[in-house]
């Protein structure tokens, strides 16, 4: 929710498009609920802060789906020595399994990096437009690096 507030603020501060409405109005009981709202991602121009925000959401949904694979792998690995060896061979021997694992790990790493940025922002850092943009750019760069490192580690 705070992410969307930030987007609204960012878009307005940048004055990149006229404010169509308040994105956050429907979340609050204290304000009128019939205000116009714009959440149409195809018409919102995405500055880097908004891009990281929506990717944070997308990666979160991806982790939710990928959790099934993580729990399955953990289940197989801890069930018995035979199933542990079988699942290890499955990961080491199959390109598809590695790609699947890397995809889930990438989504998780991206979500974690963006989440840490959020926690740092909650401490009061990176809250202005300029520092927020810088924080988002740094977080994107860090995410790319750790995702590539995870790829190197998996292969």
């Amino acid at each position: 929710m705070t992410a969307w507030i930030r987007i609204t603020i960012t878009c307005r501060q940048l004055n990149e498009r006229p404010a169509i409405g308040h994105q956050i109005s429907h979340k609050s009981k204290a304000v009128k609920d019939n205000r116009p709202v714009n959440l149409d991602l195809t018409t919102i121009r995405l500055p880097v802060t908004a891009l990281t925000s929506i990717l944070h959401r997308v990666s979160g949904v991806a982790v939710f789906v990928g959790l099934a694979l993580i729990i399955y792998l953990f289940d197989q690995a801890s069930a018995s020595e035979d199933s542990f060896i079988a699942i290890k061979e499955c990961i080491e021997g199959s390109f598809l399994t590695r790609i699947a694992l890397w995809t889930v790990v990438s989504a998780l790493l991206f979500h974690i990096v963006m989440g840490v940025k959020h926690l740092i922002a909650d401490l009061g850092f990176g809250e202005t437009l300029e520092s927020g943009k810088r924080a988002s750019t740094i977080a994107l760069a860090v995410a790319v690096v750790v995702i590539l490192l995870a790829g190197v580690w998996i292969w």
């Binding site: 929710m1 705070t2 969307w4 429907h26 979340k27 609050s28 609920d33 709202v37 959440l39 149409d40 959401r57 979160g60 949904v61 982790v63 939710f64 959790l67 099934a68 729990i71 953990f74 289940d75 690995a77 801890s78 020595e81 542990f84 060896i85 998780l108 974690i112 989440g115 840490v116 959020h118 926690l119 909650d122 580690w153």
Partner: protein
């Protein structure tokens, strides 16, 4: 209008707090587990089992599991109430949202019970 009734906490502040608290728990857990996998080359079943089936680690895993269920519930609720609404989807919005919410809460329940069975079964 989307009401708060299907959400995890009772209000936005409580959701925000739960989201931050669970994220710190999961971050700590992730760092521990990532350290284990990165620091140990060619992990054997004995090592894997010794690490994950110790009582402190089982408790930590359970905490992380509970945290991810709450965290995902709040996150997916936010996604569903932003996009699956009558404003975004027309008249089908409410039905779509309730179907999506039923789906993710069912999946999270399965993750929870499945995870507990692995950890404590």
């Amino acid at each position: 209008m989307v009401t708060q009734v299907t959400n995890f906490g009772r209000n936005g502040v409580s959701n925000w707090l739960i989201q931050r608290f669970t994220s710190v728990v999961m971050l700590a857990y992730f760092l521990c587990v990532a350290c284990f996998f990165v620091c140990n080359d060619n992990i054997s079943y004995e090592l894997f089992n010794a690490y994950f089936s110790s009582t402190p680690m089982t408790i930590f895993s359970t905490a992380a599991l509970l945290a991810i269920i709450a965290h995902a519930w709040i996150g997916l609720w936010a996604v569903s109430t932003d996009y699956l609404t009558t404003r975004m989807m027309g008249n089908k919005g409410t039905v779509l949202r309730l179907l999506f919410q039923t789906a993710y809460s069912s999946v999270l329940f399965i993750y929870l019970v499945w995870g507990l069975k692995i950890l404590w079964g």
